[in-house]
């Protein structure tokens, strides 16, 4: 009987410890905005939290901030209407899908002076690929997809996608493990569009990827970064946003935009059709386009900003004029942006990608 009692005391102590730990770290504060609220759905780690606090202070609008991890997980959440979001920040092809399905609301540039004046014309131009008249989306972050290579591990500078098929580099190549990015490489190499639905072009791309497969060390997503820094591979396909960071960690790494052309991706703010706080949404997006705020976000996220006024404010010359962060898009040919291919197109690509992976 004594033993039993001790046993109980022990467990009660555990419970007390748990309760105490809960109480100790409780510090959630909530001050309702006097001017209503705005509900924002953005990528994880895709904003400087300080800018949200500043917005709340300056406008008195409470920001309810939610995060997603992929375009594909964002879409059904917005569509299901479980939560009525005001603003989202999807990528190019997902925006074209949302436009097609009538989920977005038109942007009134008169209410957004910063968006009108600070975002560079060339980025609006590039965004027309998925938003033909710039009716719905205001670019927030952008970048290119290119090749990152370790100059101590290759014989000559890498400048073309073609070199990813060079047998010299067998087992030293990292490819992106995502349908569109993998096919983009092969399609660009063939001189085709990366939004193609032509069966012959797609088969050619698929065959090319199968041919390359024995040379590929691994199909990876964000491990490219760590593997390249650690010198575990010589050549990797990577997003430009990661390139500056990897170079800082390992100065032997070089980033190039391949001559055959590549993908220019854009993540952009959109206001949703059934947004309950449209006016506040406009204020929020415009606030994010203000040059000092955009600069804070650029410093935090480190992905290229389309905000030319913010770029002017960058103090570090090596970043301000960086060819990686801010390449002159007009210099390159064959730059494209993904668009939505429709359900049939998507499943066709997935089918072919499965064949490549299973080969």
């Amino acid at each position: 009987m004594r033993k039993e009692k001790r046993f109980h005391i022990k467990w009660i102590m555990v419970m007390l410890a748990l309760t105490a730990s809960v109480l100790l770290c409780g510090c959630a504060s909530s001050n309702k905005g006097v001017n209503g609220q705005v509900i924002v759905y953005n990528w994880g780690e895709y904003i400087d939290p300080e800018t949200i606090r500043m917005f709340e202070e300056e406008t008195g609008i409470e920001v309810i901030y939610d995060e997603f991890e992929t375009n594909e997980s964002m879409y059904p959440k917005v569509e299901s209407g479980a939560v009525a979001y005001d603003i989202a920040c999807p990528s190019d092809y997902m925006i074209s899908r949302m436009i097609e399905n009538g989920m977005l609301s038109e942007i009134n540039y008169d209410n957004m002076p910063n968006a009108k004046s600070n975002i560079g014309a060339q980025y609006y131009e590039q965004a027309r690929g998925f938003d033909p008249d710039n009716t719905y989306a205001i670019p927030y972050c952008w970048g290119t997809v290119g090749i990152l290579y370790n100059r101590t591990m290759v014989d000559e500078p890498i400048t073309r996608w073609e070199q990813l098929w060079d047998e010299k580099y067998a087992d030293d190549i990292l490819m992106q493990d995502s349908v569109r990015d993998a096919f983009m490489v092969a399609e660009k190499l063939n001189g085709d569009s990366m939004n193609t639905l032509d069966p012959d072009e797609l088969t050619a791309a698929k065959d090319l990827l199968i041919e390359q497969k024995p040379l590929v060390q691994a199909y990876v997503v964000d491990q490219v970064r760590d593997k390249m820094i650690g010198g575990e591979a010589a050549i990797g396909v990577i997003y430009s946003g990661e390139a500056i960071y990897t170079q800082k960690e390992n100065p032997d790494l070089v980033y190039v935009i391949p001559e055959e052309g590549t993908n220019v991706w854009i993540d952009a703010w959109v206001i949703l059709k059934n947004a309950p706080n449209k006016e506040n949404a406009e204020k929020f997006i415009d606030f994010m386009c203000r040059e000092d705020i955009a600069l804070m976000n650029f410093d935090y996220i480190t992905y290229s900003t389309p905000n030319v006024a913010a770029r002017e404010l960058i103090e570090d010359e090596s970043i301000k004029y960086s060819e990686i962060a801010f390449p002159d898009l007009s210099q390159y040919e064959n730059l494209e942006t993904y668009i939505y291919l429709g359900e049939d197109g998507d499943s066709l690509y997935n089918e072919l990608w499965k064949e490549v992976k299973a080969h």
């Binding site: 033993k3 039993e4 001790r6 046993f7 109980h8 022990k10 467990w11 555990v14 419970m15 410890a17 748990l18 309760t19 730990s21 809960v22 770290c25 409780g26 510090c27 959630a28 509900i39 759905y41 990528w43 994880g44 780690e45 895709y46 939290p49 309810i64 901030y65 939610d66 995060e67 997603f68 991890e69 992929t70 299901s80 209407g81 479980a82 939560v83 979001y85 964000d222 970064r225 760590d226 593997k227 820094i229 650690g230 010198g231 575990e232 960690e249 390992n250 996220i301």
Partner: protein
């Protein structure tokens, strides 16, 4: 020979179980952000962790949800057990079957169906929906650990207490409850860990701006998991380990020997 083989076998098991956690703890002291390079020893991620309001709020949410949901589930589950012992055999086994289904069910099925239920009922997603969901999937675990204890009870003690003039409620708390307590406590702890652990159901039933640790970590995928999370995970692991060691070192273990 046989002994050596045994030891190697155990060592291998422990190695496989703890190598990932060990790596994580080492990396949490890495001054460099990347796992590929050792930038020197540093506690900067621990400092950054305690300055990061988002992570701390997620931790707070996780612990509150785990504590409240497991407490509520424990009360409901225990009452259900008491009711079930009074039932006929057939009704009891049907009810046991029903409570077992959610446990065998894939989390994603539970998560999606709860989400659809909330949408169709027009319930606003938020902390409340997460709590409801966690209570829901916690109840079976409590029942499962209280029920066997219930079966071991000697019904005569309860009747004896009544015969001696005790009220029903009093008899329950003085006679039955103490005997059930170990089962209830382990059920509570089981529910607590299940709730702490859960990602998928939370992912589907959470509202805007409410994050638990697991959903917070998941959203960091695009930009790479921040080393602050390594630091936090290490702290949680060390806390749990210390608690376990304390429990196992308490005197009654020695008495048994």
């Amino acid at each position: 020979m046989k002994n050596a083989a045994k030891k190697i076998y155990i060592a291998l098991i422990v190695l496989f179980l703890y190598a990932p956690i060990g790596t994580l703890m080492v990396l949490s002291f890495n001054a460099s952000k990347t796992r590929a390079k050792w930038g020197g020893f540093s506690i900067q991620w621990y400092i950054a962790l305690f300055e990061n309001e988002e992570i701390l709020r997620a931790l707070f949410n996780t612990l509150v949800i785990a504590l409240v949901s497991s407490l509520v589930a424990t009360v409901i589950g225990t009452i259900a057990c008491i009711a079930m012992t009074g039932m006929k055999r057939q009704a009891k086994s049907i009810l046991m079957g029903i409570t077992n289904i959610p446990m065998l069910n894939a989390d994603i099925v539970t998560g999606v169906s709860l989400m659809l239920l909330y949408i169709s009922l027009g319930i606003r997603f938020g902390m409340g929906t997460i709590l409801l969901s966690h209570i829901t999937f916690n109840i079976p675990y409590v029942i499962l650990s209280v029920m066997p204890r219930m079966k071991q009870l000697n019904p005569s003690t309860f009747e004896a207490a009544l015969d001696l003039g005790s009220s029903h409620l009093n008899a329950f708390f003085k006679v039955v409850f103490p005997d059930l307590l170990p089962g209830i406590l382990s059920g509570f702890l089981m529910a607590f860990t299940m709730s702490l652990d859960d990602f998928i159901i939370t992912h589907f039933t959470k509202g805007v701006g409410v994050d638990t640790l697991s959903t917070k970590i998941y959203t960091e995928i695009k930009k790479g998991i921040k080393p602050e999370m390594y630091a936090l995970s290490s702290l949680i692991f060390v806390t749990v380990l210390t608690l376990l060691v304390l429990i196992n070192l308490s005197p009654d273990k020695k008495e048994k020997k």
